[in-house]
Symmetry: C2
Subunit: 211 residues, 2 copies
């Protein structure tokens, strides 16, 4: 066996080349392709491309929001820690409020998950923000409810919760009516923190940056 490749830049370069040669990316524009490639890189599955739904202006709007200094609001700490801070074009804040002391209280009051309760605390920062939900369907449902109730609209929603209860339904609800907000989602049960943060990283730094 040949020695393993250890140079990080070379590992990224070869990985992206393999993904571009194997994945069917033809239906995505150039900006969305960078996002899809990075998401595939994060999960190891080239057929993920077939399940990705992205609104036509998503990549451009999300990039413009970051350039303008918008924060990234994440549903869980794993998403926040998957975002590569130095790729951010405007030293953007990447926030997860799950451990805010108010969250337990709201969750208990509303008989919901802490992830969903946290979304209530996003409202003050939501206008023009980039949302990254990788874990909790309840957070995505709550986000749509708050927008319906008149909360400020984010610039873009990355809505890729994973799992067996509510994930499919929450992502279908986003894709069916994103309330006029640019969005990206993954049909079906697949999703997760790594997919969410890799989409953010692609928007922030394209395929050039790595970490």
């Amino acid at each position: 066996m040949s020695a393993p490749i250890r140079d990080p830049a070379e590992i990224y370069r070869r990985s992206f080349a393999i993904i571009r040669s194997e994945a069917d990316l033809a239906r995505f524009d150039a900006g969305a392709q960078e996002v899809v490639v990075r998401m595939i890189h994060a999960c190891g599955m080239v057929d993920l491309a077939d399940d990705i739904v992205v609104s036509p202006g998503f990549a451009e709007a999300a990039r413009a929001a970051l350039v303008a200094g918008a924060p990234v609001l994440c549903d869980v700490e794993m998403v926040r820690h998957g975002v590569i801070g130095r790729l951010m074009p405007s030293d953007n804040k990447v926030l997860c409020l799950l451990n805010d002391p108010q969250v337990r209280e709201i969750a208990s009051r509303d008989a919901t998950t802490r992830s969903a309760a946290q979304v209530d605390l996003w409202a003050a920062r939501m206008e023009g923000a980039v949302i990254a939900i990788g874990n909790a369907p309840t957070a995505l449902f709550r986000l749509l409810e708050l927008i319906d109730a008149g909360a400020p609209k984010p610039a873009a929603i990355i809505g890729v919760p994973v799992g067996f209860v509510g994930a499919v339904e929450s992502k279908d609800a986003l894709a069916a009516d994103s309330r006029g907000v640019e969005f990206l989602t993954v049909k079906g049960r697949r999703g997760g923190s790594a997919m969410a943060s890799s989409a953010v990283n692609a928007i922030a730094g394209g395929l050039e940056g790595h970490g």
Copy 2:
């Protein structure tokens, strides 16, 4: 459409029930089944069970190590943040040394990734530890090299790096010869931080705890 389920305990209960009804778990013992169910829960794919390779004593050895107070050593911050601290039986340390100031220096000296360089810093804490590698094939290769060079043996290795360059080869190397250490891996390109941390959570708290 009926209202989404929001109660976290009920979401976990239903999720695990769906997984047990759909996944083929017959070849795993009871302890390993809990690990496999949690890993499937983290990725949304019941067919992951078919690709999981686990040594016969893995779940028991990893659990005993945590009960005895062993640390969990993680290759990236995402894995560390996916571990649910309050499930730990002995208030165990969950560590990621990727941001240790020495790591950049070692990575530069050895022309390798920071993830792999970090493994050199694990040696002092490795004896009897639980290792959780969810991201970097280079970290898993380096771990095997260090054990071959006489480093203290961990109690168990969760080796599930993801991706297109080196991931398959590093996991095959672990499965072919785990150096006498109990291990869990996933054949193929799939893997990731969520799979690694969910395996740790299953060992720590079975399917009862949730977060």
